[in-house]
Amino acid sequence: MSILDEIKQRLKDKIGDWYEHNPRRIYFSVDKKEIKEAARVLFKDLGLRFATATGTDTPQGFEILYHFSFDKTGQMVSVRTLIEDKHNPQIDSLAVISPAFEWIEREIWEMLGIKFIGHPNLKRLLLADDWPEGKYPLRQR
């Protein structure tokens, strides 16, 4: 079974849109409450490597794309999730699954203001300690 079939079989109806841009670039979306399960399946069960996560401010809400790499075939599987509440954006932290998620969640928090519930060490990563509160550089104002 190909890795994509495995993902579809394990995550079943948790998967929203599924888009294959080309054989090596796959994007699918999950609801934000399923993100921990999706990450666990991809990282722990299927052994994909976590590359990084991209947080974007869109008109529909804050979108986070988690990028995983399946090194055996060179495919990048990106999991998309949307946080619609822009006034109090929160999502489960994936740092409990692996330390590889720690830094990027801190960065997304300080750049976009998204709170990662359960993160062990949610403090500033890149910006100075006296950077003004409430100012998130990557938000579109």
Binding site: L127, A128, D130, W131, P137
Partner: protein, 150 residues
């Protein structure tokens, strides 16, 4: 710097131009290329040690402060403090486009101001990165100016 200070500096610096002790500081927001070109000066091809130029490990021993980087908020305080700790007379040299005026990062949100609005700069060496020959040329020009030669 006022003119009187400059004259004093010139007199004392004349004594120092035989052998310059350089403290290299990267004040953040740097891609390190300028730092590597500066370190390159020590390697056999350029070998600035034959001119008596030496890199030192503490700013308190330095005659020349060689600064690279485009100055981020986190590093601004440190830059100012280090400049204050330098025993005067001292010369500040800005190496690379970033140290000159933030270069390509001019529009960034984390680079507050050009370096010379924070500390006074005596010598600008442009380039991205400036070639080691350009850095040597700049320092030689500085030494000549301090000695009063043309």
């Amino acid at each position: 710097m006022n003119n009187e200070l400059r004259t004093n500096m010139n007199l004392k610096l004349k004594a120092l131009t035989k052998s310059l002790w350089v403290f290299h500081l990267c004040i953040g927001g740097s891609c390190n290329n300028c730092d590597i070109e500066i370190l390159d000066l020590l390697t056999p091809r350029f070998d600035v040690e034959r001119f008596g130029i030496m890199l030192v490990g503490s700013v308190r021993h330095a005659d020349v402060l060689l600064i690279t980087g485009s100055l981020t908020y986190k590093a601004a305080e440190r830059a100012k403090r280090l400049h204050q700790q330098m025993p005067k007379p001292a010369v500040v040299v800005a190496v690379g486009s970033c140290a000159l005026g933030r270069g390509i990062f001019k529009d960034g949100y984390n680079t507050p101001c050009p370096l010379d609005e924070l500390i006074p700069v005596d010598l600008y060496i442009p380039g991205c990165p400036p070639k080691p020959e350009a850095i040597i040329d700049g320092i030689v020009k500085l030494v000549k100016k301090v000695r009063g030669e043309k």
